[in-house]
């Protein structure tokens, strides 16, 4: 298989911006139009990561854009099989999506207990800083597999590259 491939999944409620985050990260674009994802769509992105001990490495990311969870349909566990990590995404303007993060994380860890999780509190461009602090208090005490909580915006690009880079690097250095 030549270069190293790693599977990442985007999980979260519908409409939180999973597709938009991938689009920003891979294509450097954003659209205000909402097109709900059904099933799953895989995007590829090759990243070069550097580490003082291990040197540099090219890594092929396979990013799974998974249909968002709705009241009627949970995320199919089969999609999460074999993922090295997930981006658990919530929409800062919808409190319930933040509350659901803990479930998404638990479901993933049930399938892959050594997987890594990065939490994206997305649409940060729509919310005041003070409100943000309040919402962050809602988050449960993170599991040790959670590498960090990021306020992201697919619209402005805030922290989008960072969250993917941090997650990928952690998978590479500590991963299975």
């Amino acid at each position: 298989m030549g270069i190293l491939s790693k599977k990442l999944c985007m999980v979260g409620d519908f409409g939180v911006g999973k597709t938009s985050l991938i689009r920003r990260f891979v294509e450097r674009q954003f659209s205000d139009r909402y097109l709900s994802t059904v099933g799953v769509k895989i995007s590829r992105k090759t990243m070069t990561i550097a580490d003082s001990e291990r040197g540099t490495q090219d890594l092929k990311l396979l990013i799974w854009d998974i249909e968002g969870q709705t009241k009627f349909k949970a995320i199919a566990p089969s999609y999460l099989q074999g993922a090295s990590g997930i981006l658990a995404v919530a929409d800062l303007t919808r409190q319930e999506t933040v509350e659901h993060l803990a479930d998404h994380i638990r479901n993933f860890l049930a399938i892959n207990q050594h997987g890594f999780i990065a939490v994206a509190l997305n649409k940060a461009d729509l919310i005041d800083r003070e409100e943000l602090a309040q919402i962050r208090n809602l988050l449960e005490q993170p599991s040790e597999q959670v590498i960090g909580v990021y306020q992201t915006s697919a619209k402005t690009g805030e922290s989008v590259d960072t969250i993917f880079e941090h997650l990928t690097k952690r998978i590479w250095t500590k991963g299975n």
Binding site: S36, L62, E67, G82, R94
Partner: protein, 505 residues
């Protein structure tokens, strides 16, 4: 050599890919190319994960299938972008066949596209709902937290919404307000009429109108209301929004300021009256004194002893007048600044009055008689401040004499009514014009009919202060030309002492 000798069981809508344990491609069906987004990687002997990236990560699962630990693995609804820009969906199933694996790909585009359009609608509706709820929540929070009272009524004035501030201001619960008429709150009919006459077209609205309102406990409060008509969701049907701010407090503060201003004005008047009084009252005796001194200086050696005595007597009398005046000014000054003390002691009121009347009779001529009459069985002891009593009755008696220029009797009576002592000083003198009656107790005020009768206008002011210190009452009734009567009522109880000074002094 075909691994799929018995591939007959594979339906025609399904394409396949046979792979070995290392995931290298062994065989592929004719149209399986359409299901990969990397057709160039789809060739015999190639790693199947390049053309089907879904296999990355599930290598262990595939091995389990090969070992028979697991029968199959399925991924549904994998999206692929086709070269012509369409999206194609497939279900991918992996099963064991012989010693190898077979990957079956079934086109489910039609079903998934249908599902997408359903999901799209459902999710959009859900997002809209959540946005609406959020903004409704937000508006509700704003409305309930605003400090001003807010009512929304129907055209007929029935209350539909009342926020917390409104409930608090008017002392109603929300359920008591909903459905009742706004006229129960706003009692100003004219305002309600004007409010109901507004329409959407005019664009303007009633702004900051002070209206009288009534709370549940029938208190009247002044509220500054603005009212405007709004369009309800039913086209053509209006609702009215009333926003009100309680200005009772502001009004009270305004009234207080006005009162303070009036007091200030009164004080200024008092000062100027004082200046004009003193300049007059001091100048007259001073002029007399200076004149007598002048005369004595120049003519004393030519004058008889009696004439000299007359002038010396005049100087003494004028000086005494000035001393009295000065004392009055000092007393009123002490009273005004609250420094006049009330120090009651047990004394016999009748004895006090009788002595005072005799004392005064000595200083006035034969022209006037002070007649003291006392109720026979009057109590012998009462808590009274002798010094203040002296202020009260020397002033009242000397006034009675002063304003009876033709002479006559002054009646001084003392009776008891309930727990009060009642003193009456009645003369048959010139009287006080009705207009002046209400001002007689003000400092420096003198009635207009006093003409050239000397006086400072301080006496009655001092009397009033002394009566107040006793927590007593003084009243005056008078008819011009017939005479004046002052009634002083002083409480017998010691309460006056313990309650101390009246607070307005």
């Amino acid at each position: 050599m075909s691994v799929l000798l018995n591939k007959l069981f594979i339906p025609s809508s399904v394409e396949y890919l046979a792979i070995d344990a290392q995931l290298f491609i062994l065989e592929l069906s004719a149209k399986v190319h359409q299901f990969t987004d990397c057709p160039q990687e789809l060739k015999l002997g190639q790693d199947a994960r390049l053309a089907f990236p879904e296999l990355v990560g599930i290598e262990t699962i595939l091995q389990e299938i090969l070992c028979g630990q697991r029968s199959d693995f399925e991924l549904q609804g994998i999206a692929r972008s086709t070269s012509d820009g369409r999206t194609l969906y497939l279900n991918l199933t992996c099963e064991k066949i012989g010693d190898n694996l077979i990957l079956l790909a079934e086109d489910v585009t039609e079903m998934m596209v249908l599902r997408q359009s359903l999901m799209q609608r459902a999710n959009e509706a859900e997002l809209l709902l959540s946005a609406l709820t959020a903004s409704e929540d937000y508006n509700k929070k704003i409305i309930s937290s605003m400090g001003d009272a807010l009512f929304v009524t129907t055209v007929s004035g029935s209350i539909k919404t009342a926020n917390q501030a409104a409930q608090k201001l008017f002392h109603y619960t929300e359920s008591e307000l909903i459905g009742t008429s706004i006229s129960k709150i706003i009692t100003d009919r004219d305002f309600l009429y004007r409010a109901s006459q507004q329409n959407l077209l005019s664009g303007d609205f009633l702004k900051n109108v002070e209206v009288l309102c009534r709370t549940q406990d029938s208190q009247e409060i002044i509220v500054e209301f603005s009212c405007s008509a709004i369009q309800t969701t039913t086209k053509g049907l209006l609702a009215f929004v009333y926003i009100g701010r309680d200005i009772t407090e502001r009004k009270r503060a305004e009234a207080e300021t006005n009162r303070a201003l009036a007091q200030q004005k009164e004080l200024n008047e008092l000062k100027s009256r004082f200046v004009s009084m003193t300049s007059h009252e001091f100048r007259t005796p001073l002029t007399s004194i200076l004149m007598s001194v002048d005369l004595l200086e120049n003519f004393a050696d030519q004058w008889s002893e009696t004439k000299k005595q007359t002038h010396l007597q005049r100087i003494r009398q004028c000086s005494l007048n000035m001393k009295d005046l000065l004392e009055d000014v000092l007393t009123i000054g002490r009273a005004e600044s609250g420094k006049l003390d009330f120090k009651p002691s047990l004394l016999d009121p009748a004895e006090f009055c009788c002595n005072l009347a005799e004392e005064m009779q000595l200083t006035i001529g034969q022209q006037h008689t002070i007649q003291f009459i006392c109720q026979a069985d009057l109590i012998r002891q009462a808590w009274l401040d002798e010094k203040l009593l002296r202020h009260i009755f020397t002033n009242l008696l000397s006034n009675a004499i002063k304003y009876s220029p033709q002479g006559g009797t002054v009646d001084f009576t003392l009776t008891r009514t309930g727990d009060h002592l009642q003193f009456i000083v009645r003369d048959h003198g010139i009287g006080i014009p009705p207009d002046d009656c209400q001002h007689i107790f003000d400092s420096f005020h003198r009635a207009r009919n006093v003409r050239d009768i000397a006086g400072t206008g301080l006496g009655l002011a001092i009397v009033k202060k002394a009566v107040d210190l006793h927590r007593g009452k003084i009243e005056c009734s008078s008819t011009v030309g017939l005479g004046t009567s002052f009634q002083v009522c002083l409480p017998l109880t010691k309460a006056a002492e313990s309650s101390g000074l009246p607070d307005h002094l």
